[in-house]
């Protein structure tokens, strides 16, 4: 027989234990300070030191705020933010998340539009249903094709390809010279999908910039003949033997060192690669846009940016003040430009104003952002209205891996349509 006092003591112990487990949610005022949680992520470029210094600088400009840094366990901060939300710990500030994943559920607070318009070159770069949840402090091209001039010269390729036919010809020449034409970090799905992002962005969105909105409206599909033809180009590259045969076993980090180490001649990657160009031989690197059939320039563009604000933050005003201070701090942009290849998008500031040391290939790449040209959303990377529904990014990247080992283009595209239907149901 269990005695009541003992049972009560046991239950009290359990309650105390569970209460202890649930502790740590208190982010209330301490000495007039409001504590805000800030989800960040660390990479070889964006180190703990970078975050600590940038937070300290923004805190200094935001009286009354104390920041509690939360570091995502991987670069997939969207998934981690969802886990935190599920466990009732949604951060007050979230760095570089995909707003479309959260705004629909009312979890984010939009920034003041007047402030966005006043401070950024492309105020609408991150616009989601008319609101801006992440200040468009910088931008990226995803992907550009980076190449090694010395390897091109060795293979007798006179200049960077200007269209698809020249691109294939360059691949043939490089292969014939015993050089792997294209680097692919295929073990990481996002990197494996990079050529597919280039092809679809250039060939499909380049011709119809509203393609993704049309897909949401059900006017087009991945199974359409033009998409099948475009994606078939990826199979052409695989079948031509232009990638390393074992590319699906190459990690993203290794793909960078292989390319910078001269093991391959071209590397389709997001412009953050510019932060990895070795200073000692930066002059050997060049870039060109993903080639189209007719040679027209299409720039797959992504409005990058800083942090989103939780609508449930204890003080959304202080959170926005902190977000503004962080976003406009030139020191943060300087670090992002030099280490992460970010293209600055703050109004009234030229590249030189950040006192950065960048390579010629960075300047050449940045020119595609500042020039008038056909900028389209980079499929699977856009964070604005053209963002893919939840889970479809993964399916898109998986298709990139699947088409490396199989040639069922129509089958893979059908799977994408099915994933889209499931995600938008």
């Amino acid at each position: 027989m269990i005695r009541k006092p003992l049972l009560a003591a046991g239950l009290a112990g359990l309650l105390a234990f569970t209460a202890a487990c649930a502790g740590g949610e208190d982010s209330g005022d301490k000495d007039g300070q409001t504590t805000l949680t800030y989800l960040v992520f660390e990479t070889p470029s964006l180190t703990a030191k970078f975050w600590d210094e940038s937070i300290a600088a923004a805190v200094a400009e935001t009286p009354g705020v104390t920041i509690e840094k939360i570091v995502a366990p991987s670069t997939d901060r969207d998934a981690y933010a969802k886990q935190l939300q599920q466990s009732g710990q949604f951060p007050d500030l979230l760095q570089s998340i995909t707003p479309s994943n959260f705004a629909g559920a009312g979890l984010l607070k939009a920034y003041d539009k007047a402030w966005i318009d006043a401070n950024f070159l492309l105020p609408s770069a991150n616009t989601l249903k008319g609101e801006v949840y992440i200040p468009p402090t910088n931008s990226q091209i995803v992907p550009q094709v980076y190449y090694r001039k010395s390897l091109f010269a060795k293979a007798g390729v006179a200049a960077a390809p200007k269209n698809w036919a020249e691109f294939l010809a360059a691949c043939d020449r490089l292969k014939a010279a015993g050089i792997t034409p294209i680097e692919l970090g295929g073990a990481d799905p996002f990197a494996a999908g990079m050529p597919l992002v280039g092809i679809v962005s250039a060939d499909i969105l380049g011709k119809n910039p509203n393609w993704l909105q049309d897909r949401y409206a059900g006017k087009v599909s991945f199974s359409d003949p033009d998409m099948v033809t475009a994606v078939g180009k990826y199979r052409t590259l695989v079948a031509g033997g232009y990638f390393d045969k074992g590319a699906l076993g190459v990690k993203y980090a290794d793909s960078i060192t292989r390319f910078t180490g001269g093991k391959s001649a071209m590397y389709p990657m997001g412009s953050w690669f510019l932060g990895s160009v070795p200073k000692e031989n930066a002059g050997d690197f060049g870039s060109f846009p993903w080639p189209t059939d007719d040679g027209s320039v299409v720039v797959p563009f992504v409005g990058g940016g800083s942090m989103a604000i939780s609508a449930k933050a204890e003080s959304t005003k202080l959170a926005e003040d902190f977000g503004r201070a962080w976003s406009l701090n030139p020191a943060n942009l300087k670090a992002l430009i030099e280490t992460d290849g970010a293209f600055p998008m703050i109004k009234g500031k030229a590249l030189d104003d950040y006192q950065v040391t960048v390579s010629q290939v960075f300047k050449d790449s940045y020119a595609y952002v500042t020039e008038e040209n056909n900028k389209v959303s980079a499929i699977a990377w856009a964070t604005n209205d053209d963002a893919l529904p939840p889970g479809v990014n993964d399916a898109f990247y998986a298709a990139g891996q699947a088409l490396f080992t199989g040639d069922d283009v129509a089958g893979e595209l059908k799977k994408l349509d099915e994933a889209w239907t499931t995600a938008t149901r």
């Binding site: 046991g10 590319a247 076993g249 889970g391």
Partner: protein, 293 residues
């Protein structure tokens, strides 16, 4: 009398705590997950609607779930056989009492002590295209060019199998060692007198006598692989092209990438039922075998 009452109280308290912890950390989450599986719960929304068995009917036609279950079952079967065969082999080799053997036993158990994430990161440096294994094989001339150990579906399956087998073999070795040490020496003496030696002695004496150990080792190996997440998440992320996506990994992606917690909970219920069915069947079979032997 007084001591007995004190002992009773202590036992009751300990049992109460154990039952309480079991209820809070196992039964309650299970019930919450079951409830979630009957809803359209989304991690981003505070509310969810009851949708009956719709998640389960959708799962019946889910090809990605089917692929993940097939992969998980193939891996579980292969790893269980390999890890237990290795466990028996290592246990026979290490069943001595000298200090050097005790040290080797500790080393054999080491993989089991390490975190799955750390193990996977270490093996990743071995198995990637530029990894240690390819470097060695190419340098000694056994390969002309690096082999994609993690870059093709079949090779990745085998690579994961090897890593998980390596981890589990520490556990199986210890279980079989304990089983071997429980065999009465008299039995071996009698077998010697009867002229039973070598493989025959293993078949007739050792193997039957370690049957209880086999039951524990096989069952736990199977359950470990059926719920495997960490090693695969780090080593391949389920790739290439989702070919090494375990059911546990698929469930997590459904919940936190596709925002379908309710559907993921239904998949988790299916995995739970499948694991329970397999574990009960295998345990039942092995227990009957113990009696027969």
């Amino acid at each position: 009398m007084r001591t007995t009452r004190h002992t009773d109280r202590g036992l009751t308290l300990a049992a109460g705590l154990a039952i309480g912890l079991y209820l809070v950390f196992l039964v309650l989450p299970l019930l919450l997950s079951l409830r979630s599986s009957l809803t359209n719960e989304n991690p981003l929304r505070g509310t969810s609607d009851f949708i009956g068995l719709r998640n389960y009917t959708e799962l019946a036609g889910d090809e990605r779930l089917r692929a993940s279950v097939t992969f998980t079952l193939v891996l579980a079967a292969g790893v269980t056989v390999a890890a237990n065969a290795l466990g028996v082999g290592f246990a026979l080799l290490l069943n001595r009492t000298s200090l050097s053997y005790r040290v080797m036993r500790t080393l054999a158990f080491l993989p089991q002590v390490l975190s799955g994430v750390i193990v996977a990161f270490v093996w990743q440096t071995v198995l990637t295209q530029n990894g240690l294994l390819n470097n060695v094989l190419v340098r000694v001339g056994l390969l002309d060019e690096p082999f994609p150990w993690l870059g093709s579906p079949n090779a990745a399956l085998i690579s994961i199998g090897v890593v998980v087998t390596w981890v589990l073999s520490g556990f199986t070795t210890v279980v079989y060692l304990a089983a071997l040490q429980n065999i009465p020496l008299e039995l071996h003496d009698m077998a010697s007198i009867d002229g039973v030696r070598g493989t025959q002695r293993f078949r007739k004496v050792t193997w039957p006598m370690i049957a209880p150990g086999t039951t524990i080792s096989v069952t736990i190996s199977l359950i470990t692989v059926l719920k495997l997440y960490d090693i695969i998440a780090v080593l391949t992320g389920g790739g290439p092209a989702e070919s090494t996506q375990s059911t546990a990994l698929y469930i997590v992606k459904l919940a936190f990438t596709s925002d379908r917690v309710g559907y993921a909970s239904a998949a988790a219920m299916i995995l739970l039922a499948l694991s329970a069915l397999i574990a009960l069947t295998v345990t039942g079979f092995l227990r009957r075998r113990e009696v027969t032997l």
